[in-house]
Structure formats: structure tokens, C-alpha cells
Amino acid sequence: MLLVPCPNCGPRNSADLRYGGESHARPDPATATPQQWRSYLYLRDNPAGWLRETWYCRSGCRRWFTLERNTATNEFRQPPIPGDKRGGKA
């Protein structure tokens, strides 16, 4: 089990949240080439170490937020910034 520090609800079991995965800047759909867009959609860094990622507090505050987690040890760091949502909606 993973205890995810939700900025609004405090520590929650990861099963109560939805994992949003790696967080990358979204290219502008109006100007991005198909290749840029598909890289954004599909390619991942997938590091074994610190990763910036998004979570959705599904059964709590129902907000998206961004965290940093070490994917090798599963520790979280950096107090999350409230209201820091992923680009669009869920």
C-alpha cells in the first residue's frame, strides 16, 4: 500500500486515488506536429528515481494534484501545491 499525501485530505491510501502518471507539459494542439503530439501521448521517461506525477483524489476532494515520488523507494517529497491541476479535466 502507498500512502499518498493529498494536499487537501492528508495521507490517503493510493487505492482511494486514481494514478495519473508522468506529468509533462502538453504541446499546443493548434501548432503541434503529429509527431510532437504522439510523443506527448505515448513516450515516457519512466525513471527509476524521482518522478513528477499527477494524482486524482477520486474518493476524497476530487481534485487533480502533482507530486514527486521516488519510483525506486516509493517515498514522496515536496509538499504538494493545492489546486495544481493537470492541464485539462479528468
Binding site: G21, R44, A48, L51
Partner: protein, 436 residues
């Protein structure tokens, strides 16, 4: 056989009943099944990852193409990755024509493997049932059955009556919350002894001159001429590998590191459409054999098979959170038990013996990533997710051909890395998300 015989460096001790009796009577030890050699400073090809994919690739390089100056390097021991942790299910009942043709070839190679490798891999063609609990999965089953039949793969959709004839322990009544409406039945599916496959390939490759180097971690891939830092990245070429035991020069590197594939590819400046997730499994105490087939339920996220020793082996879908940690969780066991009991109420008193986890390299379309990359001499055989054990023989065969000929074989062309840039995904989620 003569083809292999000619290339043998030394005659392998054959496994047979006579050899067993002879050695038993004389009290002889069996020799170690692969050599421990010095790591050389250069090889014609280096395969990273001593799992079933890396070993199969090395085996076919030597056997089919006479390329024997090959090193397989692994940071731990052979089979320490997912190859020694999987639930050993093999089948060909996929959803896309590309997938079905590919996995069917693998199943054929599994069927002749015991003879080819002279090792008992305990191939058990026991049949494979994928249960449907709602109309939409029944529709997918029908779809899969038609795609399968068209390609000559034995699959059909059957109803609850037939299911309970095949596997009477399943609750096919209308009582459960998710009653069983039907199933995709695939008689050629089954299970294989995964460790024997790893050892068999390692032994056969060793006999042809391939070297296996355990406890040899790859730290970097040495490149020249690429767009990125240190000559890595698109447009460059591979010149060597930096390992924990020194540098090796080589023009060809094949990445067979599954869960770690993204880390190795990054060393060559290649980004992959892969995230690493753990997959957990569990096994019960042994009981009398009562479950004749493999049973999968996508809706309930579980699958079950019974080993020849009588243990029930359970698996599920991957853990949702991407991580390189392979710690198991209580949630997994709880959920698993609940779902299994919904299918088989009769086993509620059985005890779990242990649970474990392995890393899976998940792709967006549940199909692998195979072949050449924008870096010359850097090939990938990755993206094996939760379904790569069954694919090892055909992958090794095809990757070896790609290395030897410099061209992408037709069978794996649909799985090229470039498909993501082209937006031509090979969607297998409907056939691979839970049933591995």
C-alpha cells in the same frame, strides 16, 4: 540436429532416462549447465538481460545464423526478472491478426521445445477459458474467436453448460453477482515450466559458444555520431557497452530488459512508450488436481491455473501505480481472494502459501516494441508487459533474424517502435489486460 551438431563446441551431456540411470548408478555429478567464462573486451553482439527473451535471442543467433560471438549480460542471475516470476501461461487467442499470427508461431515453437532443447519444459496443452460476465465481453470473445479461426487458431465461444463440463468447480449458476455468461475456449493454450525454458535456452546457447555473464550490470551504452549528448540518440550508432566489469566494444546491442527497458534505452538516447508496473501473483498449498484448464476472468481481474503438483496459481492485472519496487500488498491478496471465491466458492478453506511480484514493461496498446531504433546497432525486444513469457521463442527467432540480416522480419514489422510516431497502434488490451 546435424546442423546444431556441427556447430557444437563440445558435446553436451544429453538428458535422457538412460543418462539418468547411468549417472545415478555411478554417483556422477551432472556438470554445470553453462560455463562461467572471462568477460572478453569485444563481442559481435551483446544481449542485455538474461531473461527468457535475451536467452532465446542468443540461442537463435547461434543456432539459425551461426553468430556465436555473443555475450548475454545480466545484472543479477539468469531468470531473476519476470522470466522467473511469471505464471507461465501460453496461448495464441489474441485479438489482432498481427498478434494472433505472432503468438501462434510462438506456441508452435513451444510445442517442439523439449526436443529442440533436450530439456523437459513440461509443456501442458491443457486448454484456456476466458470467462465473459457481461454482453460487452461476450462480444469481444466472439470477435477474438472469429479472428482466431480465420488464422487457423483453435478458439470458440461456449456457454455455461459446456464450461461446467470442462471445469465443474466454476460456479456457472445465476447466483453470483457477475454470473458467467459464456467463455472463449482455446484448447491449445496451457502452461509451461518457466524455469526450465530459461535454463534450456541458456544451456543450448552455451553449447554453441554463447557466453552468459551474470552479476554484470550495464551502466552505459557507448555511442557515436548521435544528435544527443555523448553521441547518443537518433542518427548515432552503438560502439560498446560499459558494464560493472569493464567496457566491451560491440557494434550490436539488443535490449531485452523488460521492466528495466526504459533505463537501458535512455542510455542510448532512445525514449520508449513504456512505463514499469509491478504485477503480483500468489500460490496456494497443493491439493488434489481438480482444475483441468487455465481460467481467466477479465471482469473480475483474476486468473487461475493448477500446477501438476496441485497448487493453485493466481494472478491479476498489474498494480495501477508505476514503480520499480516489487513489494507485494495486502490489497492485492484481499481482492484476489474475494474474486476467486466468486468464481470457485468451493475453495474457500484453502490457504495461500506465498505471493510475489515482478516488473512489467507496459505499452499503451498492450503489444511489444521490437526491432530497430533510430540508433544504429541498438535493437529492442521490449514492451512485454504481462504477456511476454509465451512470446519468447518467436521473439528470439525473429530478433536473431533482424540482427543477422539487418532487416525487420515481416512477423514483427507491426511491432516496430516507429508505430507510435505513425499512430498505428496494435491494440491488444481486450486480449491481454488480465489474461496473460
Amino acid at each position: 540436429m546435424t546442423g546444431i551438431g556441427r556447430r557444437l563446441r563440445r558435446r553436451p551431456p544429453r538428458y535422457s532416462a538412460a543418462a539418468l540411470a547411468w549417472r545415478g548408478l555411478r554417483g556422477d555429478y551432472w556438470p554445470r549447465i553453462w560455463r562461467d567464462t572471462e568477460l572478453k573486451r569485444s563481442y559481435d553482439a551483446v544481449v542485455i538481460g538474461g531473461g527468457v527473451h535475451g536467452l532465446a535471442t542468443a540461442y537463435y543467433l547461434a543456432r539459425n545464423h551461426g553468430i556465436t560471438d555473443v555475450a548475454v549480460v545480466d545484472k543479477a542471475y539468469l531468470g531473476s526478472g519476470a522470466s522467473g516470476r511469471n505464471t507461465a501461461i501460453v496461448r495464441a487467442n489474441y485479438l489482432t491478426p498481427e498478434g494472433v499470427a505472432f503468438y501462434d508461431r510462438s506456441l508452435k515453437l513451444y510445442n517442439s521445445m523439449a526436443l529442440d532443447l533436450n530439456i523437459n519444459v513440461m509443456m501442458s496443452e491443457r486448454g484456456h477459458l476466458t470467462l465473459a460476465h457481461n454482453d460487452s465481453s461476450l462480444r469481444t470473445m466472439n470477435w477474438r474467436a472469429e479472428v482466431n479461426k480465420l488464422q487457423g487458431v483453435d478458439s470458440c465461444v461456449i456457454g455455461p453448460d459446456e464450461i461446467s463440463k470442462i471445469a465443474p468447480s466454476l460456479d456457472t449458476s445465476s447466483h453470483p453477482r457477475y454470473p458467467i455468461l459464456g467463455a472463449l475456449y482455446h484448447p491449445p493454450g496451457g502452461i509451461v515450466r518457466h524455469d526450465a525454458v530459461v535454463w534450456g535456452y541458456a544451456r543450448a546457447a552455451d553449447h554453441m559458444g554463447v557466453e552468459m555473464h551474470q552479476k554484470t550490470e550495464v551502466l552505459d551504452i557507448l555511442c557515436e555520431g548521435g544528435d544527443g549528448p555523448d553521441g547518443k540518440g537518433p542518427g548515432g550508432k552503438v560502439v560498446g557497452v560499459r558494464t560493472s566489469r569493464g567496457d566491451i566494444s560491440t557494434p550490436v546491442v539488443v535490449n531485452c530488459t523488460a521492466g528495466w527497458a526504459g533505463l537501458i534505452s535512455a542510455m542510448a538516447g532512445v525514449r520508449l512508450p513504456i512505463t514499469t508496473h509491478p504485477l503480483q501473483a500468489a500460490v496456494t498449498e497443493p491439493v488434489k488436481v481438480f482444475l483441468p484448464t487455465v481460467v481467466v476472468s477479465g471482469s473480475l481481474h483474476v486468473y487461475i491455473s493448477q500446477t501438476d503438483r496441485g497448487e493453485l496459481v493466481f494472478g491479476a492485472a498489474v498494480d495501477a501505480v508505476a514503480t520499480y519496487s516489487i513489494r507485494g500488498s495486502l490489497e492485492f491478496t484481499e481482492e484476489l481472494a474475494g474474486h476467486v471465491l466468486e468464481l470457485m466458492p468451493g475453495i474457500s478453506r484453502m490457504r495461500l502459501l506465498r505471493q510475489w511480484s515482478g516488473l512489467c514493461d507496459m505499452t499503451p496498446d498492450y503489444s511489444p516494441v521490437m526491432g530497430f531504433t533510430p540508433v544504429d546497432g541498438f535493437l529492442v525486444d521490449v514492451g512485454w508487459g504481462t504477456y511476454g513469457f509465451k512470446a519468447a521463442p518467436v521473439s528470439g527467432e525473429q530478433m536473431a533474424e533482424a540482427v543477422a540480416t539487418g532487416r525487420t522480419p515481416e512477423l514483427i514489422a507491426p511491432f516496430a517502435l516507429s508505430r507510435f510516431e505513425a499512430g498505428e497502434l496494435v491494440g491488444e488490451k481486450g486480449a491481454a489486460a488480465v489474461g496473460h
